[in-house]
């Protein structure tokens, strides 16, 4: 039983990280009905950019977020506005396949540019812990991940609920035709939504880069995590995203505890597949 409490604490905090990994995918899927298969790769791209900036400028990776955030927004906006908007339509295949193509291009681009070596956004924070009571330690890094994740997700929620642009995004996702009649330029709106999604992916990427090692091909594993959170937690709900993150993290950590570290990913996959089969709209999702 020892270490179980620590595992659960870690899972809680990790769940927050998973939630912010997923929020971008969830937003775009909920709004434009597009599964951005390049989501994970864009995260990793942000991690590499942060690495580059942090070492060039000699600053903490967290500071690079100041630049990464607008850069990723622009990347997302441009991607949607000039590429993905063109394939949005009745059929589901073209956007999926285009996103797939982008994913492959990104991975190979990063492979060629940054070499296949393992990387990490090391900082002093990586090893620090904060004791809680006599038995537990809070890894500071996980805590930071968690706090930033909460801040970003709540911030985005507020934006979507309470601003004109945010409501416009929701309206455009409900009914594109009617939204256009309101004077909403849906091409722009979708691009803004994607910009926001990729921006959060960028933040998630930097956090992930600080917390784990990454490679050019690390993208897909985070895509699957994102997808897992969305499936388990359901779309369109902030609580759902957090719940999904938590459950997935728990499944992985407890799975590793019971079956061994090699099975960490597998346990996550199994939980995901079960939820997909039994309750595809997610545990907290709307039917």
């Amino acid at each position: 039983m020892e270490g179980l409490a620590q595992d659960i604490l870690n899972a809680l905090l990790l769940g927050g990280l998973y939630a912010i990994v997923a929020i971008g995918l969830s937003t775009i899927f909920g709004i434009v009905r597009l599964v951005n298969l390049a989501h994970g790769d864009l995260m990793i791209l942000a991690a590499y950019l942060s690495l580059f900036m942090a070492s060039a400028l000699g600053v903490s990776p967290l500071l690079t977020l100041v630049a990464i955030i607008p850069i990723m927004f622009v990347i997302g906006y441009v991607l949607q506005r000039f590429l993905l908007n063109r394939v949005l339509g009745a059929e589901m295949e073209p956007p999926l396949l285009v996103a797939f193509g982008v994913s492959i291009i990104l991975q190979n681009f990063m492979l060629m540019t940054f070499t296949p070596d393992a990387r990490s956004l090391m900082s002093d924070l990586s090893l620090m812990t904060f004791p809680l009571g006599s038995n537990l330690n809070i890894p500071i890094l996980y805590l930071i991940d968690f706090c930033i994740a909460v801040a970003v997700i709540i911030g985005q929620h507020y934006f979507l609920q309470n601003t004109y642009m945010g409501r416009g995004i929701r309206a455009a996702s409900d009914d594109k035709y009617a939204a256009e009649l309101m004077g909403i330029n849906t091409r722009n709106t979708y691009a803004v939504a994607m910009g926001i999604a990729i921006m959060t992916a960028g933040v998630a990427g930097v956090l992930v880069g600080m917390t784990f090692t990454f490679y050019p091909h690390s993208g897909p594993q985070y895509l699957i995590i994102a997808f897992g959170v969305v499936v388990i937690g359901g779309l369109g709900s902030m609580k759902g995203t957090f719940a999904g993150g938590l459950i997935l993290a728990l499944a992985q950590i407890l799975g590793a505890r019971v079956f061994g570290p090699g099975y960490q990913l597998l346990c996550g996959y199994i939980v995901l597949l079960i939820v997909l089969a039994v309750r595809p709209q997610g545990i907290l999702g709307r039917g």
């Binding site: 929701r170 009914d175 009617a178 939204a179 256009e180 009649l181 309101m182 004077g183």
Partner: protein, 238 residues
């Protein structure tokens, strides 16, 4: 060159890809008029409204709005200029509240500045909407949704209101109520174009009527000039 003709449509031809939907349509609407466009399904009435609103653009011909050429504009540009369309089937945003739906109507910057006042006016016109303002739009009845759709269109402070089949699927007593509101809206100074399948109702409300068949205008005139006989003949293409 500004003029008092709200809409001057000259010989427009509109296509859906290769399908010729509107043939040489010409139409004039004076400021403050209520104009009725009648026709069966597929006659092109919705296409006409969509073209005026900017969802479609005519291949040939011209549309002038108070003297300004608008045939090449997109919807968000025509809305900003004061043309609002209440779409067929109402199409309120189901996952937004009544209040948020109305707010969406005032998206264009000019309308946004005056949104408080516009909201007041709409709540006065449609008290039911004020009651239900925090409810999700998809929980409203058909009639209430229609009122919401009209209210939402009015939020953009239009000068011309295009109504696409606002009586569709509604009970007669509700329709009566809605048409009364249309009269009130007209009295406020708006020019209104009504597209309907229901001949009697829209003829009663209008200053001028047009009958469409297969993308062409086959009959026009003041309702007093148009006997039911003639209208039915034109409607069915006899």
């Amino acid at each position: 060159m500004p003029s008092d003709t709200a809409l001057d449509i000259e010989r427009i031809n509109v296509f859906y890809d290769d399908f010729h939907a509107l043939w040489d349509i010409s139409l004039k609407v004076d400021k403050g008029q209520i104009v009725s466009i009648i026709g069966s399904n597929g006659s092109g009435k919705s296409t006409l409204l969509n073209t005026i609103a900017g969802q479609l653009n005519p291949k040939t011909g011209a549309i002038a709005y108070f003297g300004e050429a608008i045939s090449d504009l997109a919807s968000h540009e025509t809305v900003a200029r004061g043309i609002a369309l209440v779409p067929e089937g109402r199409r309120v945003f189901p996952r937004l509240t009544v209040f948020e739906n109305l707010l969406m109507g005032s998206y264009p910057p000019k309308a946004r500045k005056n949104r408080e006042q516009s909201l007041e006016n709409i709540y006065e016109l449609f008290p039911r909407l004020k009651e239900r303002r925090n409810q999700m739009a998809d929980t409203l009845s058909g009639g209430e949704q229609q009122m919401l759709a009209i209210g939402r269109a009015l939020m953009s402070q239009p000068k011309v209101l295009l109504c696409d089949e606002i009586s569709l699927g509604l009970a007669p007593i509700v329709i009566k109520d809605i048409y009364q509101k249309i009269k009130q809206i007209n009295a406020m100074g708006l020019t209104i174009i009504l597209v309907e399948q229901d001949i009697t109702r829209s003829l009663k409300a209008a200053d001028r009527a047009y009958v469409m068949l297969e993308g062409k205008i086959v009959l026009e005139g003041a309702p007093s000039e148009l006997t039911e006989e003639r209208v039915k003949e034109a409607y069915f293409g006899i």
